[in-house]
Symmetry: C2
Subunit: 97 residues, 2 copies
Amino acid sequence: MKNFDLVFKALADPTRREVLRMLSGGERTAGELSDAFELGRPSMSHHFAVLKEAGLVRSRREGTQVYYALDTTVLEDVLARLWDHLGLKDPRKEDRP
Amino acid sequence: MKNFDLVFKALADPTRREVLRMLSGGERTAGELSDAFELGRPSMSHHFAVLKEAGLVRSRREGTQVYYALDTTVLEDVLARLWDHLGLKDPRKEDRP
DNA sequence: CGCTTATTTCGAAATCCGTCGAAATACGGG
DNA sequence: CCCGTATTTCGACGGATTTCGAAATAAGCG
């Protein structure tokens, strides 16, 4: 995968992981997400950009505000690949040899 | 889990992920692992320490050399938790209250 | 066009991270 | 003991990352 690196870099930050967790409940505006953290808007905007760059998130503008949403396809692919890559068993399937 | 943060920090580096991949084939000595990369021994030793600190790897000394082995329990737990925690299940729910 | 709200971009400071060479530690064997 | 091999610790350097405030952009509204 191309973005393997970007994805893990993105996941390395706790704030960004928390943003992803919030987005798992549905899309949120940049402002809503920012209000959940004690960080300035510019800092949060930067985190959003990192997540987007990694393909973990997509955004859509509606009027003056921007909605962010989880893009699960990349995460699923990366995690599955990691599992495979490391020769681990997929937790989604509980098969035993 | 003990420390979510350390695990993701550990996985953020491509060299460390490659070390994990190598270890998925069985344990290796520090020297064997180091020889697979174009990095100095001190750098590799540092990476081993990070992986160990995160609980992704365990070590055992035999004579003058140190064997490293993958500890899959932490990885399985973390990835499963990530999968679950982010709600990466197929029927995606939309919107919010 | 000016005004307000929402968000991003820019530039700079502080901190973190990966890497190195030199030195230190750990072991086993003369 | 001292030597050789294997590995780790130390101290430092450079580059990346996080954060901020100020300024810039975007969009709706009168």
